[in-house]
Amino acid sequence: MTQTPYSKVKLARENTRPTGLDYISNLFQGFLELHGDRRFGDDTAIVGGIARLNGTPVTVIAIEKGHTAKERSYRNFGAPNPEGYRKALRLMKQAEKFGRPVICFIDTSGAYCGIGAEERGQGQAIAENLMEMSILCVPIVSVLIGEGGSGGALALAVADRVFMLENAVYSVISPEGCASILWKDAAKADAAAASLKLTAQDARNLGVIEGIISEENLGRQPFYQNLRNLLWDQLEELSADPDLVGKRYDRFRRIGTSGLQG
């Protein structure tokens, strides 16, 4: 069956899809979860810690949505607060100190839109991640596993390599939000989803991601084995690169320049 962009958005939001914690427990061994941003609190929407990938220590950070109603409520539906992004940055800096690569799994409709989130500087927290990730001296690989909602997703995706699952989406705004702002009609989300070019195929065509991960056997061992191999190969390549940070700068530097005049 051919998926329309909007049907992919709905698919990406399905609560039956594997979530961040599923990836952590299936891809890595001995996950040691580390909590808290050392500033304000611990955000349950972002899970982070140290684990082993094929025996090698890596820092893993994942946005977690939860499966059941109870889990989803506990995880704030995968909408991080500023302390989530600050915890992620703390763990990334820790990874840099100890020479561990960083792997991020992204699945969020966006950074949380709340009063407390604004009071504690949601914009500043995201901005700081964007700046600091741009110079982090260890490899960063990010995988969009479901929804990649705007700045809240990008705050974990300033990476050397970015991959998307074949039915994941990555967008500057939700199709519903776009339709209601531009056309004053949230029901036109279908058209907005097509116009926003938010599918994995679009993202690859725009030069925003390196590759698409097949969802064949999604959530089963062969799927995780393939993904583990992919991550391992990426980290091997990136770890050997003496100009990692320079290339990361160039990766983002060229995005969007081809369509410009001047």
């Binding site: 989130a117 009071e119 914009g123 500043q124 901005a127 700045g151 705004i173 969007g256």
Partner: protein, 283 residues
């Protein structure tokens, strides 16, 4: 007899009602009604006061007016004016919209960049344009800001930037989103070279610009009453189903929560920026 007031036309209410501008048939001079004090202010008076109402309300200001207000006379040299947006996603209606906005605003894009002197001190300067799609950031805005920080790093110049933005430009989709990462990386390189960046947040500074270069300055100033935030107030209300606290997402609110350094009315901005530049020149 409060209900009697109800029967009066709105502009006779002393407070709260949005009063229409009083008609002076013989005055002839154009006026603007202040949304804060509801008084009609002659335009000439507003112009003489950097578009600030006597009550203190700061009206929105075009980017070139800001540059003229801050840069020493004749010192501003524009850079990267040729960088313009295309329609990379073939987004419906975008090309037409851009054409209309270019004609109406007289600008090619939502930010103006260049070099200038402020009280005799060289710097890079950018001002975003509220009358160009509310300062939204697409590929061209991101490219111009990035080039400016790269230029400033190369020439070892400080950067002063006036932000005003509704956020990322959705008509360029993911490419707009990526400008947040691109500009942030350029700001970081400039910062790591030991160079100064001062941001002045003006009304409104929101969304992807707040979550990137607006919040990345060494010193962050804000204009009185400016809306400064990440998520839109209406979206927050809908998401949380709570009524928002008084003054939510104003410059004063953001100052109170520790995310801007100080609030500076327009009249004092040039002097303060010049002093900040001097403080960082070892002067």
């Amino acid at each position: 007899m409060a209900f009697i007031n109800f029967l009066k036309p709105k502009n006779q209410l002393e407070e709260g009602g949005r009063t229409a501008a009083p008609v002076h048939e013989d005055a002839g001079e154009p006026e603007k009604t202040c949304p804060n004090c509801h008084k009609a202010i002659p335009l000439s008076r507003l112009w003489a006061n950097h578009l600030v109402c006597p009550c203190g309300h700061h009206f929105r200001m075009k980017a070139r007016q800001r540059l003229a207000m801050i840069a020493d006379k004749g010192s501003f040299r524009e850079l990267f004016r040729q960088v313009k947006a295309g329609n990379p996603l073939d987004f419906p209606g975008y090309a037409e919209k851009i054409d209309t906005v270019r004609t109406a605003s007289g600008e090619e894009e939502a930010v103006i960049c260049g070099t200038a002197e402020v009280d005799g001190q060289s710097c890079c300067l950018f001002a975003m344009e509220p009358y160009f799609m509310m300062g939204s950031m697409g590929s061209a805005v991101g490219e111009k800001i990035t080039r400016l920080f790269e230029y400033a790093t190369e020439h070892r110049l400080p950067v002063i930037g006036f932000t005003v933005s509704g956020g990322a430009r959705m008509q360029e989709g993911l490419l707009s989103l990526m400008q947040m990462a691109k500009t942030s990386a350029a700001v970081k390189r400039h910062s790591d070279a030991g160079l100064l960046y001062v941001a002045v947040l003006t009304d409104p500074t929101t969304g992807g610009v707040t979550a990137s270069f607006a919040m990345e300055a060494d010193i962050i100033l804000a204009e009185p009453g400016a809306t400064v935030g990440f998520a839109g107030a209406r979206v927050i209300e809908q998401t949380t189903r709570k009524s928002l606290p008084k003054g939510f997402q104003t410059a004063e609110f953001v100052l109170q929560h520790g995310f801007v350094d100080t609030i500076v009315p327009r009249a004092g901005q040039k002097q303060m920026l010049a002093e900040i530049l001097r403080l960082h020149n070892g002067g």
